[in-house]
């Protein structure tokens, strides 16, 4: 394998959401990465990263569950790409934690009965596309620019924070989604809520909190002039898509950024993915002649 090919080959960690409620993110991410020449090898035998629940119950558990996946992936020597922002966050936090603390690593080696030594690293899907593939390559594949589509890019918490453990360079104002939206011809509007919280794991037990936060995000998106959200997080997408209330205003469609990239790249499968959304994006896309 020469170094150029190796550079665009990754271990794929889909995570549980992408295998169920966020299947359209799994499909669109794979399709777009494939089109960009990225080769993915799903980590054999991957298991749950523990998500919000593990760290709410036990710090050790929150490191051990992703640690198992890091250890499983390491022998192949490929960096991991995890499209789910929550999985990315848990894998990356585990990675930083054990690599900066030998005692923690020993504890995990014993508990997990597998070992990870830091030879590979976890990337989020925005890093893979923007840093490893490059915006230029994306632009070259656009056949149907998303002209007239006004969105706000919503990164949420998990791609940005905690910056010390994730190595985020710009936790208050990330720009990767905005740049990708510009590359596919959409207009990503400026707003101050890029990395605000949607209520995350409170969706079941305290949906009132999620509704309060989501409606605020919706109001601010409308104030910015947006007609849709674009996100890279299944939890944000689900909360925004399901919990906007209609009483105080219109409900905005919530896209995975990969779905919009696929539309701009002329992929026919995109309509099937979009039909799974709760807030239908079709009226907006038809109005703009995008589909």
């Amino acid at each position: 394998m020469n170094s150029v090919e190796e550079h665009k080959k990754f271990a794929y960690y889909p995570g549980c959401s992408l295998k169920s409620s966020a299947a359209e993110y799994d499909h669109s991410a794979k399709a777009v990465l494939g089109k960009l020449g990225v080769e993915l090898v799903e980590i054999p035998g991957w298991t749950c990263c523990g998500a919000t629940s593990a760290h709410s119950l036990s710090h050790d558990l929150s490191i051990a569950l992703p640690y198992r996946n890091l250890a499983l992936a390491e022998p192949a020597g490929l960096d991991i790409v995890a499209p789910c922002a929550s999985c990315y966050n848990r894998l990356k936090v585990a990675e930083s934690t054990v690599l900066s603390d030998p005692a923690e690593k020993d504890k995990m080696d014993q508990a997990v009965e597998r070992s990870y030594g830091g030879k590979i690293s976890t990337l989020n899907i925005l890093e893979v596309i923007v840093d490893r593939v490059g915006i230029d390559s994306v632009m070259r594949l656009v056949v149907k620019p998303l002209s007239g589509l006004k969105v706000v890019s919503y990164y949420g918490c998990l791609l940005a924070r905690p910056p010390k453990l994730l190595g985020t360079s710009n936790p208050d104002n990330p720009v990767e989604l905005d740049d990708l939206m510009a590359a596919v011809g959409a207009e990503s509007l400026f707003w101050s809520y890029k990395t605000d919280c949607c209520g995350a794991g409170h969706a079941m037990a305290r949906s009132d909190i999620v509704i309060t936060l989501v409606d605020k995000l919706r109001d601010m998106a409308i104030e910015a002039g947006a007609e849709a959200f674009v996100t890279a997080c299944p939890m944000c997408q689900t909360n925004l898509d399901m919990r906007q209330t209609s009483a105080s205003g219109e409900r905005l469609p919530v896209f995975f950024f990969t779905e919009l990239m696929a539309l701009a790249m002329g992929m026919k499968e995109a309509e099937g993915w979009l039909s799974k959304h709760i807030v239908s994006p079709f009226p907006l896309l038809k109005k703009l002649n995008i589909i």
Binding site: S21, G45, A51, S56, L57, V112, R161, A205, I278
Partner: protein
């Protein structure tokens, strides 16, 4: 506890701070009550104590009040506080640590359903190696008696085929061992 004078007497536990430190919480006593964590917290409106107050209470060793609070369970782990704290206090990690300690000590949580949800989530992962959403939602509703909450959303999800039974993962035996080693059953 209130005395006749109306002045609150705190039953402080001086070992509490030491316990937090031994579990990896750093810099706690450097807190200067600047309130950045409390002001930026997206869930503060639903909490009974702000994150700023909780940090002060932790330093003072107000264990009972903290364990009985809504705050530790309502923290969404957004890490805004941790990112902004000028004294490098990991407020979000402190919240998690106190939540973990409260569950360990068998304290009746102020947000019972939140704790139940996390526990059931872990039961599903323990059984299957991965999350299975229909099982998670079903068990949660049974255990909490919240059958009729979110009916409309549930129907939407079924109609859009958003809920799927995903298969068991090959590594589930290893996952079970990991969970049994670290989790405190509620």
């Amino acid at each position: 506890m209130h005395s006749k004078s109306g002045i609150t007497n705190i039953e402080a536990d001086p070992a509490f701070k030491t316990e937090l430190e031994s579990r990896g919480v750093r810099n706690l006593t450097k807190c200067m009550q600047c309130m950045r964590c409390g002001v930026g917290c997206p869930v503060a409106h639903a909490m009974d104590f702000t994150p700023t107050q909780i940090i002060r209470m932790a330093i003072l060793g107000m264990k009972e009040e903290i364990f009985a609070s809504k705050t530790i369970h309502l923290c969404s782990a957004c890490n805004t506080c941790t990112t902004r704290c000028p004294m490098e206090i990991d407020v979000a990690r402190t919240m998690d640590t106190m939540k973990e300690m409260s569950v360990e000590s068998g304290f009746e949580p102020a947000e019972r359903n939140s704790v139940k949800f996390n526990d059931i989530f872990m039961n599903v992962v323990r059984a299957r190696g991965r999350v299975n959403e229909p099982l998670l939602f079903g068990h949660y509703k049974m255990k909490t008696g919240t059958y009729f909450d979110d009916m409309e959303i549930g129907m939407d999800m079924i109609k859009k085929r958003k809920i799927k039974f995903s298969p068991k993962a090959a590594g589930r035996d290893e996952v079970r061992k990991i969970i049994d080693r670290f989790r405190h059953k509620i």
